[in-house]
Amino acid sequence: MVNSNTYKQYFNIWLLLMFLTVITVGAAQFDFGSLNIPIAMLIASIKAGVVALHFMHLKYEDGMTWIFATYPIFLLFLLIAFSATDIFTRVVN
């Protein structure tokens, strides 16, 4: 798994993450209205994906690890979606 290219790869990944951080801060200077949060979350998710795949070696892991790594994202989606549905559809507060 480790070879002479590994460290060079890590360096490139780090550069990519720095570039994405600049984009994160840069994009926040503009007002996209209701798209502000989706854009910020999209960039953050790309960064998180890069960290997971390359720094946490998810790209070398087996299917079982992938399930463990991705199902909490689904649970998190359920938690936020159902809480929001509850809060914003209440007729009586």
């Binding site: 798994m1 480790v2 590994t6 460290y7 890590y10 360096f11 990944i13 780090w14 993450l17 720095m18 951080t21 994160t24 801060v25 926040a28 502000n36 949060i37 910020a40 979350m41 960039i43 953050a44 960064k47 998180a48 960290v51 997971a52 390359h54 720094f55 946490m56 070696h57 892991e61 087996d62 079982m64 690890t65 463990f68 790594a69 199902y71 909490p72 994202i73 649970l75 998190l76 938690l79 936020i80 809480s83 929001a84 809060i87 914003f88």
Partner: protein
């Protein structure tokens, strides 16, 4: 004694007995390694859901009180937040190097990388300390409004993880110094590294949500 002959014939010859297992938990080191990693990923899943409650609270209150969140996040120091983001991402990079270096027996490199990671974590903590004390001295506390309540809760729980991560990395560094880890035994460094990456992952989301909203 035909009866004794019969009893003896019931006993299994030694080569048919199950082997005596000397390893404590697993049959072979490779299984143990992947099982430990899988366990760590499961633990990270529970960690994500621990922060999940805070993310859910953020989503709902932000939708309910958008002005409060815009005003609150505008009062946070974007420069300090960006510096801390850069520091955490760099420390993730150094931990990744340490995890690979131990698999090549490059012990000196591992020690350097663990040291740099711990120092990055300490700088992050110092920045956060200045940030908190500046806010509190201006009378902004978790009780000010819901934005600051979520801000202090989320960054506080994250800070706790930074401290635990520093402790984990410190123990790993101590054991590396004692020569306990090498090419054939690096599982602890790998899963300790995974923990540190999670601290980075959470911050990647907290930074835009709190500072740049």
């Amino acid at each position: 004694m035909p009866f004794m002959k019969f009893v003896k014939s019931l006993a299994l010859p030694s080569e048919m007995l199950p082997p005596i297992i000397e390893e404590e938990s697993h049959f072979d080191p490779e299984t143990e390694h992947s099982a430990a990693k899988l366990g760590m990923w499961l633990f990270l899943a529970t960690e994500l859901l621990l922060f999940g409650g805070l993310f859910a609270a953020y989503a709902i209150f932000r939708a309910k009180y958008p002005e409060m969140f815009l005003e609150g996040s505008a009062s946070l120091d974007v420069v300090l937040g960006t510096v801390n983001t850069v520091i955490l991402i760099f420390s993730s990079y150094t931990v990744a190097i340490a995890v690979s270096a131990i698999q090549e027996n490059r012990i000196r490199l591992v020690k350097w990388m663990l040291w740099i990671t711990i120092i990055c974590a300490a700088i992050f903590a110092v920045n956060k300390y200045f940030e908190y004390s500046y806010k509190i001295s201006n009378g902004i506390t978790p009780g000010t409004d819901i934005f600051y309540s979520i801000y202090y809760a989320a960054t506080g729980v994250h800070m706790l993880h930074v401290f635990i991560g520093m402790a984990v990395l410190g123990v790993l560094l101590k054991k590396v110094n004692e020569g306990r880890y090498h090419k054939g035994n690096f599982t602890a460094i790998e899963i300790g590294g995974l923990y540190w990456h999670l601290v980075d992952l959470i911050w990647i989301y907290l930074f835009p949500l709190l500072y740049l909203a």
